[in-house]
């Protein structure tokens, strides 16, 4: 599903953020990405989201070299990835429903289908009944679940989560991780960046470890 082949990323005038990174995630696999701040986690995620392009090497997503994708095709590649952020990245002037519906509106689905899928996604994250609330009136854990609903609402083959539990207490973190496991069980490839080592070890999935831009450990 996702493959890095000798990928390096150097920012203009800066040091190497990633050095010769190679790894592969199989379809339907779930893995964690760890490393200290500055180890290159964010850069790696940005390369997958095509927010940055690699200086060397290939990033393959679903057999497509996304590092060489034309600007026109970037949005369509992004729709294959459901992205979840530590700071949720919600639109605070829109209701929960509108936030979750955003990817579907962008994809141009009809209103009836949007309604059906948004309700299904909110049902999965246990937020049914709060569609008309505004994100700001909900708790941190609930806001993160809105973000997750938005990431899965258009059924992407891959979920990418950047420190999804960074601001949550252990119990809530556990709950969020269980959600990811559920998605993984229905065949979605999941990559979660996190530095919560204890939680990662408890979950027992494959762990990719970055240190100073290099992949130091790439299996479980």
């Amino acid at each position: 599903m996702l493959q890095f082949l000798n990928v390096s990323k150097r920012y203009p005038g800066g040091a190497d953020a990633l050095k010769n990174v190679s790894f592969e995630l199989q379809k339907g696999e779930m893995a964690f990405l760890t490393g200290h701040s500055g180890a290159g986690k964010s850069t790696l995620l940005k390369l997958i989201a095509i927010l940055e392009r690699s200086t060397q090497g290939q990033v393959m997503l679903d057999k497509q070299n996304i590092g060489r994708l034309s600007k026109r095709n970037v949005p369509y590649a992004r729709r294959k990835i459901g992205m979840i952020f530590q700071d949720h990245r919600l639109l605070h002037d829109r209701t929960v429903f509108d936030n979750v519906a955003l990817p579907l509106i962008i994809a141009g689905l009809d209103r009836h289908e949007i309604q059906r899928r948004v309700r299904a996604a909110l049902d999965k994250v246990n937020l049914l009944g709060k569609e008309q609330r505004y994100p700001i009136t909900l708790s941190g854990g609930e806001q993160q679940r809105i973000g997750i609903a938005r990431a899965v609402v258009n059924r992407p083959p891959m979920i990418l989560a950047d420190e999804p539990t960074g601001n949550l207490d252990p119990a809530l973190s556990e709950e969020i991780m269980q959600l990811f496991e559920q998605f993984n069980q229905v065949g979605v490839t999941v990559l979660v960046a996190s530095h919560d080592i204890a939680l990662i070890q408890r979950m027992g999935y494959r762990t990719l470890q970055l240190s100073k831009g290099e992949m130091v450990n790439n299996h479980g």
Binding site: L51, K71, R72, P75, I106
Partner: protein
């Protein structure tokens, strides 16, 4: 709303000037129905000779109509209307010459053709003086043409100003919705999807600005029309200011919409190009 007002005021200046010029043109057009030329004949020319000349002029293919004004009739008319009746009665001889008034055919409306006709007529022995009655109208039209060119330049300059106003407003809107743009980009929004709402606002700024500009101009005409007609009355004229023609209003609104959309498009596409990699 602020932006719409600024656009309206900015566009009302050139459109208002254009309406004024058109009004001036219609004013001169009212007088300038035909480019009459007066031929003053020599004193020695008799009425028969004058009639003969008049007939031959009537046969000239370039002349639509030639009318002879008999000097006796002219004197009678002058005596009647000028108020110099007794003074004229005291004259021994009629000082007025016969006059032939000719109207060239309609296709003879350019200066060069008229001038060649005048030169041709001047060569005739019986004609002492050829006078183009409406020479001053040509000069007025010349001035109006300069003014029209000036309005074109002002329109371009103020058009650029409107473009900048819209750009600036959209830029602010863009800043306010930065987070939203980032998020929609992350979930796979295409360039056109992100641009669409901004293009819509550009359209509405342009549309409303154009509509209000037309309203402002017509309001101004309405306010000036009263005094203008009373002034025209003093000259025994029934001249009325014309409002902006509907077709012009439509064109101004379309122009304004074009500026609104372009201004918005330029800013948003530049912003997105900066974000893309």
């Amino acid at each position: 709303m602020m932006t719409v007002s600024v656009i309206a005021i900015t566009l009302s200046l050139p459109s208002g000037l254009l309406v004024s010029i058109n009004n001036f043109k219609s004013l001169s057009g009212q007088v300038d129905l035909n480019n009459n030329i007066s031929l003053f004949l020599n004193q020695s020319v008799s009425l028969e000779q004058a009639t003969q000349l008049n007939n031959s002029l009537n046969n000239n293919e370039n002349i639509m109509q030639a009318v002879l004004i008999d000097k006796k009739a002219a004197l009678d008319e002058f005596r009647q209307y000028s108020g110099f009746g007794s003074a004229i009665n005291a004259l021994d001889t009629n000082p007025l010459p016969h006059v032939i008034q000719i109207s060239p055919i309609a296709s003879f409306n350019n200066q060069a053709a008229l001038n060649s006709l005048v030169t041709e007529l001047k060569q005739h022995n019986d004609i002492e003086l050829v006078q183009m009655d409406m020479g001053w109208l040509d000069r007025l039209n010349g001035i109006l043409n300069i003014a029209q060119r000036g309005v074109s330049i002002i329109t371009i300059l103020l058009g650029v100003a409107v473009l900048l106003i819209v750009s600036n407003t959209i830029r602010l809107e863009l800043q306010n919705r930065r987070a939203e743009i980032d998020i929609t980009r992350l979930v796979g929004a295409t360039r056109s999807f992100i641009m669409r709402p901004f293009i819509y606002s550009g359209f509405w700024y342009g549309f409303l600005g154009g509509v209000f500009a037309c309203i402002l101009v017509n309001l101004a005409i309405w306010l000036i029309d009263g005094p203008t007609s009373s002034l025209a009355n003093l000259y025994n004229s029934t001249f009325n200011l014309a409002f902006m023609p509907f077709s012009h209003a439509i064109l101004w609104i379309l122009f304004s919409i074009f500026l609104g959309i372009s201004g918005s498009w330029i800013v948003v596409s530049r912003y997105l190009t900066e974000l893309e990699n």
